[in-house]
Amino acid sequence: MAATEQTVEQVRAVTEQKYKYGFTTEIESDLAPKGLNEDIVRFISAKKGEPEWLLEWRLQAYRHWLTMEEPTWAMVDFPKIDYQDSHYYAAPKAAKDKPKSLDEVDPELLATYEKLGIPLKEQAILAGVEGAGEMPAVAVDAVFDSVSVATTFKKKLEEKGIIFCSISEAIREHPELVRKYMGSVVPYSDNYYATLNSAVFTDGSFVYIPKGVRCPMELSTYFRINASNTGQFERTLIIADEGSYVSYLEGCTAPMRDENQLHAAVVELVAMDDATIKYSTVQNWYPGDENGKGGIYNFVTKRGACRGKNSKISWTQVETGSAITWKYPSCILQGDNSVGEFYSVAITNNYQQADTGTKMIHIGKNTRSTIVAKGISAGKAQSTYRGLVRILPKAEGARNYTQCDSLLIGDKCGAHTVPYIESRNRTARVEHEATTAKISEDQLFYCRARGLSEEDAVGLIVNGFCREVLKELPMEFAVEAQKLVAISLEGSVG
């Protein structure tokens, strides 16, 4: 019997035993058996040594999930997911499944790394080569010694009282904070995927910025050495206390090798009085091949609560990967004068489908929100902007500005805009602008007549189209994102 199967058997035995006798046995295995039930939820919780209240919360979520239906309103089409056919807990992948060296990695993946200018060592980590991850992964960073960066970084943060760790560590070390805030923005009953996540999340990031502290550097999962195997149900919680500031970067411009098809993450942000959170994402999960085979389903719930007055939450996302994207980073503008922003670029090529947008819920007085969404479709892809601007009765003087621009490349793709606006306050002002354009033959020829190849021309034109969003990204991220925009559209013309 192969080692993995044996392990599965052992775990199954253990969990069944638990069912009869209570959950006391020490589990040594790293892989939960396939399927989802209360025992698996208990298994995950026990594996992570969680307190009783969290297990209860997970179980509540699981029981609620059983009563829910998968949402069907999004403009995406995919075969039904068999939720019993997955492993819900897998500690770092078994070494025997990993490629032994870069020679065993898909050459197309490597070609993309090459174009992004990623150093070899880092390529190996991203591709999941066995042993490669033992050296701490720090992206963008060929210059610095990554170990020292990570160390000085941790020290600097501790001096300021900033907590930045995995959510598992936070549950152990700072249970009072986690208990107070987790589920306070995205409750366990929120939606099908978020509820599933609440039941079975395995890891993620936790950030707490104390009162009056300006986080001295961009926080990124890159720097958290253990973060590379957080798995498919990530849970992130960021709290910015009064008068604090933090900029958080999520994701990676390089396509990640990943065998989990379904990703259902939850991100919760809480901003107190006068606090600002800037959350930037570059998502480049495997989109499937040019025939639409394979690829990640990215069903993510991201929400920020501007709890305090004058607080601000800004989402910037560049979405180029995944076969299916279902994602609506939102802001609940509760505090008076609070500000919500959403800047988004969603690029779909081949058979990719993206249904993405935002919700801005105006509750407090003089709350303001800005939405700039750019959708680019090529090949046979479908891209939808779906947004909700809701002004509640007490939101005197609320303002929203929404701009949705779609760019089509070729004649087999689609772009759709679905804006919902609900205003229940007479003093509110809501603006919506939408455009749809195609890359013109004139523009392409103009560029080529100046010496640019067709692909470079498309990259340049699309980057121009996305400029308002890309400029919101932190500098080093923006440069990579520009390259990524061009690469993800390769082969879309001509």
Binding site: F445, Y446, C447, A449, R450, G451, S453, L460, I461, G464
Partner: protein, 250 residues
């Protein structure tokens, strides 16, 4: 420099160029004049390699190479430049980004090192100043919100940066008032050199008072029907194109 032999070309299956012969030597400025629909713009697109213009017969040799075998971007890199009748807008892409990408693509083709941001900025500022263009104009998105005159000057700035050996000016005078025309013509004249040839396409003699050609050709209904010196332009201005017939006769 450039040798066009018996060039025939069709657009959407319709023959527009019906056997053009033209030789341009280094440093020469040739003007092509002709009535609407004579094939002037088609000639400029065929030479610069635009898709949709099909060459059915003949050859074009540029500096000893078969020009027609090259893609548009290769021609640009080899030193062919087309100043557009209607320069195109590219929203969100700054002039500097656009030109830096273009210049480095051309330099790469020539085996020259790419310019870094500082070297490039120094160069573009100097060239822009010579064309009376301010810093603001070079930072703005390519041709977006530019007046007609500004767009044409912008094209000439691109030419000054890319330093082609052969430039085609396609109705550069269209839509320009006299002051703008002078500015553009000054820019073009400053780029004249013994190594650089130009083909100036225009309806009117007016432009040729500012950019004085060595040779003038009349293109009518797909053929060059007459060639002469700069005085031919004046004669055409006086008599019009009537003597060269009508499309039916061709």
């Amino acid at each position: 420099m450039l040798e066009i032999k018996n060039l025939h070309a069709t657009v959407d299956g319709k023959e527009i160029l019906k056997g053009i012969n033209l030789t341009i030597n280094p440093g020469e400025v040739h003007a092509i004049m002709g009535p609407n629909g004579s094939g002037k713009s088609t000639l400029s697109y065929v030479l610069s390699g635009r898709d949709g213009y099909e060459v059915t017969e003949g050859s074009v040799t540029f500096q000893g190479k078969d020009l027609l075998a090259m893609e548009a971007e290769e021609r640009a890199a080899e030193g062919v430049f087309l100043a557009f009748q209607y320069p195109v807008e590219i929203p969100g892409v700054s002039n500097t980004t656009f030109l830096k990408t273009a210049l480095n693509a051309v330099r790469k083709h020539k085996g020259l090192p790419e310019l870094d941001a500082m070297q490039f900025l120094k160069l573009i500022r100097a060239k822009a100043k010579a064309l009376n263009m301010n810093d603001d104009m070079i930072k703005r998105a390519v041709n977006v919100g530019f007046s007609g005159g500004e767009k044409k000057r912008n094209d000439i700035l691109q030419m000054a940066m890319l330093e082609p050996s052969f430039a085609i000016l396609d109705e550069t005078d269209s839509g320009l008032d006299i002051d703008a025309l002078k500015l553009v013509a000054d820019g073009v004249n400053s780029l004249r050199s013994p190594e650089r040839s130009m083909l100036v396409i225009t309806h009117y003699q007016r432009l040729l008072s500012y950019i004085v050609p060595d040779h003038v050709h009349v293109l009518a209904y797909g053929r060059i029907v007459r060639s002469g010196g700069k005085e031919l332009a004046l004669e055409l201005e006086a008599k019009g194109y009537a003597e060269f017939g009508s499309p039916e006769a061709a």
